[in-house]
């Protein structure tokens, strides 16, 4: 039985009012909540802090726009690793494992969970470094399997449906003008030529009015 770990998020650094789907329950994170403790499914608290810090260097927040920190990317990755994806439920994992050129894709035996566990060892104390020192540390590992997985998972956590724990309050979708799933664009698809059409984003649950079970909650 693993000890319960939490990632503590500060409402002040998140800014504004965000809706998180924390551990299957929507939570309103408002300015009056100073701190929110999110239960972790896979990472230890320190690991989650490192992943959150690294993801926010991959996809940084800036004065104008939010980034991985506000989207809750670390929470998304934690849930993905705890679920079937994290243990390679759907990958061919029969031996023998061979070193292979990249043109045959990832051939390793390590699951995403193992890649993160091992990769995070090389980032000891990362979350305590300055942004410049963090960038330097990531440049050193940017060609390895762990970093490329972290980068890919960060993009997923920025733009997934909020039911997966990332893209909090659909801020990733707002950033790029993606409205989420819409039942119909029939009236708009051949209009708005050259002009932006930016309907307010809606999540899958909001659009369909149904509760959808994400793959990370499956066994």
């Amino acid at each position: 039985m693993r000890r319960r770990h939490f990632l503590t998020l500060s409402a002040a650094t998140l800014g504004g009012v965000l809706v998180y789907s924390l551990d299957r329950k929507a939570t309103l994170l408002a300015a009056q909540h100073k701190l929110v403790r999110v239960p972790l499914r896979f990472f230890t608290e320190t690991e989650a802090l490192i992943v959150a810090a690294a993801a926010s260097r991959v996809f940084p927040s800036d004065d104008a726009d939010p980034g991985a920190r506000e989207a809750g990317v670390a929470i998304f990755i934690d849930r993905q690793l705890a679920g079937p994806y994290g243990r390679d439920r759907f990958r061919y994992t029969q031996p023998p494992f061979e070193d292979a050129p990249r043109e045959l894709g990832y051939q390793g035996s390590s699951t995403p969970r193992q890649i993160y566990r091992n990769g995070l060892k090389s980032l000891h104390g990362f979350h305590l470094l300055s942004a410049a020192a963090q960038d330097e540390a990531l440049h050193k590992i940017e060609s390895n399997v762990f970093f490329s997985l972290l980068r890919r998972n960060t993009i997923e956590g920025m733009f997934c449906d909020p039911m997966h724990g990332g893209n909090a309050d659909m801020i990733g979708w707002q950033l790029v003008g993606f409205p989420g799933p819409r039942m119909s664009n029939f009236d708009e698809v051949d209009k708005y030529y050259g002009k932006p059409f930016r309907p307010k984003p809606m999540s899958l649950g909001q659009t369909t009015g149904s509760k959808v079970r994400p793959s990370e909650d499956e066994s």
Binding site: T93, R151, V189
Partner: protein
């Protein structure tokens, strides 16, 4: 092993080919038919809430579970093949409806001379026009013979488009380079999203002949000859890798399953993993039925008088090899037929264009868009060209979603993460689109399939091994197409353009298309083919093989319409002739 009660016909695979055969045989005869599908059951209602990019388009929820079975791959016989451990260049479906559930529903036909490629090319350009190590074959059938079945396919699907050639009369709004059609499309073309409209105008200004992409995401409500009604596409953009939320996309579950479910003589068993086709050679050559592992894990034998092998294209070849039916192809001697003629449609992003204005790319469908086929025709002037055959150019408006689409940047930007990368990726996100090129892939003696000597599936059977690489003909074709696409992008007033960097060795990692074909090809002689043009096995006349595995080489066009047309033709031949006089049809 338990032996089940014998049936009249067993159909291996519940995708487009298997379920169309089940519908035709089941509704036109009283045969007792069983369809065996390895994956789960599916129905249209499952798609009401599937519009989740992560689980469907990234984690690929509807695809074959590779933890149980994949293929191994190598570029040539001198190398060791390794398993493709995750989905890459092609994505096989699984479950009822197969890949026909999550396809993009693009429905072009093959060009007339594709069916007689060897003789027509030799006739027009001489015996030396084909590359030295080619394995190009005629199909043993002409376009004129298959055209009526294409028309039936279009009516089944309700295909949307504008004909370019009705019985020889050319129509400018359609593809004037296509083969003749006996009738207009059942429904008019779909709407034109902005990027495709820019492409259409630019192509026209350069003297090309753009036309609306043929689409089985239908433009308006349509009722097909079976009485199945569907509404029109809403351009929601969740199409390829998803089942259709509104049922506008032609899928086996909305067109074939409802007819089959009403027939008491057809049953569909899911979770049925077929391992072998059993046969005997004496006193006569005949397939006896199939063995499969059922959903409870028990291996059973299903005897049948007729066997239809209609699993996904690669698995058709694998099942013949595992069952030891026919002689495996050996590239060193040229002997054998099973596993030969492995091909994969050439499909590249010929020019990625970056615009000043937003494109609203989230709107579209898997087959919404504009194409032009001026370099994909029977009579192209080849002077100065160092390749044969050709392909078409496309501005597809699939409906783009941000996990997959984010981060495509002009070559001038080198960052792949961090502040500059993020800023550029956000600003280009809805200003980027790709002009595609899809071309023919010839068959070569050295591109083939056999059983892997090392890697096994979850049941302990050898995986299929693919030996496949591009040759100069494909590389030169893409080399020719790329500047043409760049020129169109310039005419669309793109601010920056990334030309395709060139076709080098076959890329097994990144998605190309699921149009990988061959292995059990049709032809006019058992010396070079596995089945006749009636898709009937040359040695076992009660075994029929349906699907892209029977195509001797790959066309520029997507294969599903041609697969369906051949299934119709085989169904007619079985019902009208074989059942009365069992035996060879060809």
């Amino acid at each position: 092993m338990r032996t089940l009660l014998a049936v009249d016909a067993v159909i291996v695979g519940g995708g487009w080919a298997g379920l169309l055969m089940a519908k035709e045989l089941g509704s036109r005869t009283s045969l007792n038919i069983v369809v065996l599908e390895r994956g789960p059951s599916r129905e249209p209602a499952d798609y009401a809430t599937d519009m989740d990019e992560l689980d469907y388009a990234i984690r690929l929820r509807m695809m074959l579970d590779l933890s149980k079975e994949t293929v191994t791959f190598r570029h040539d016989v001198t190398r060791r093949a390794l398993p493709l451990r995750q989905h890459g260049a092609f994505q096989s479906g699984s479950g009822v409806g197969g890949s026909g559930e999550h396809w993009n529903a693009q429905v072009p036909r093959y060009l007339p001379d594709c069916f007689e490629l060897l003789s027509k090319t030799t006739e027009r350009y001489g015996a030396n026009a084909l590359p030295q190590d080619h394995a190009v074959r005629d199909w043993g059938i002409t376009y004129d013979e298959i055209e009526p079945y294409y028309t039936r396919m279009d009516k089944l699907l309700g295909s949307s488009g504008r004909a370019g050639n009705i019985r020889g009369k050319l129509i400018d709004e359609g593809n004037i380079f296509e083969g003749w059609r006996s009738e207009e499309y059942p429904t008019p073309p779909t709407k034109v999203p902005y990027f495709a409209a820019l492409f259409r105008d630019a192509a026209k200004s350069l003297g090309y002949h753009p036309y609306a992409a043929p689409s089985a995401n239908i433009s308006q409500a349509y009722t097909n000859p079976d009485g199945i009604s569907r509404g029109g596409c809403t351009y929601c953009g969740f199409c390829g890798r998803f089942g259709c939320m509104v049922g506008a996309k032609a899928q086996p579950t909305n067109l074939l399953l409802p007819v089959i479910q009403k027939r008491k003589n057809v049953s569909l068993r899911t979770g049925a993993w077929v391992r072998r086709i059993l046969f005997e050679s004496t006193p006569k050559s005949v397939a006896r039925g199939v063995t499969y592992v059922d959903s409870s894990g028990q291996e059973v034998f299903q005897p049948a008088s007729l066997v239809f092998l209609a699993s996904w294209t690669l698995n058709n070849t694998r099942l013949l090899l595992l069952s030891r039916i026919g002689e495996p192809y050996d590239p060193s001697t040229g002997r054998g037929t099973v596993g030969s003629n492995l091909t994969h449609q050439v499909s590249v992003g010929a020019a990625t264009a970056f615009f000043d204005q937003p494109l609203n790319r989230f709107m579209g469908s898997g087959s919404a868009g504009i194409l032009f086929s001026d370099f994909d025709r029977d009579d192209l002037d080849r002077s100065g060209l160092n390749f044969i055959r050709g392909g078409y150019f496309a501005a597809r408006c699939y409906g783009f979603q941000p996990i997959a689409a984010f981060g495509v940047l002009p070559n001038s930007i080198k960052a792949t993460w961090g502040a500059e990368w993020k800023k550029a990726s956000v600003s280009y996100y809805d200003r980027t689109a790709t002009i595609g090129f899809a071309g023919e892939h010839l068959a070569y003696k050295s591109n083939f399939m056999d059983l892997d000597p090392v890697y096994k599936d979850a049941l302990g059977d050898p995986l299929l091994r693919l030996t496949l690489d591009w040759r100069d003909n494909e590389r030169e074709m893409v080399e020719f197409a790329t500047p043409k696409a760049v020129e169109v992008a310039r005419a669309m007033r793109a601010r920056e353009i990334n030309p395709f960097p060139g076709l080098r060795s076959y890329d097994a990692v990144h998605y190309n298309s699921t149009h990988i074909q061959g292995g059990t090809i049709m032809g006019d002689s058992p010396a070079h083919s596995v089945v006749s043009p009636y898709l009937q096995h040359w040695q076992l006349p009660n075994l029929f093989i349906l699907g892209g595995s029977t195509f001797p080489q790959n066309a520029s066009a997507n294969p599903t319409p041609t697969i369906l047309a051949f299934v119709y033709r085989t169904a007619d031949a079985v019902i009208d002739r074989y059942l009365k006089h069992p035996g060879p049809l060809a």
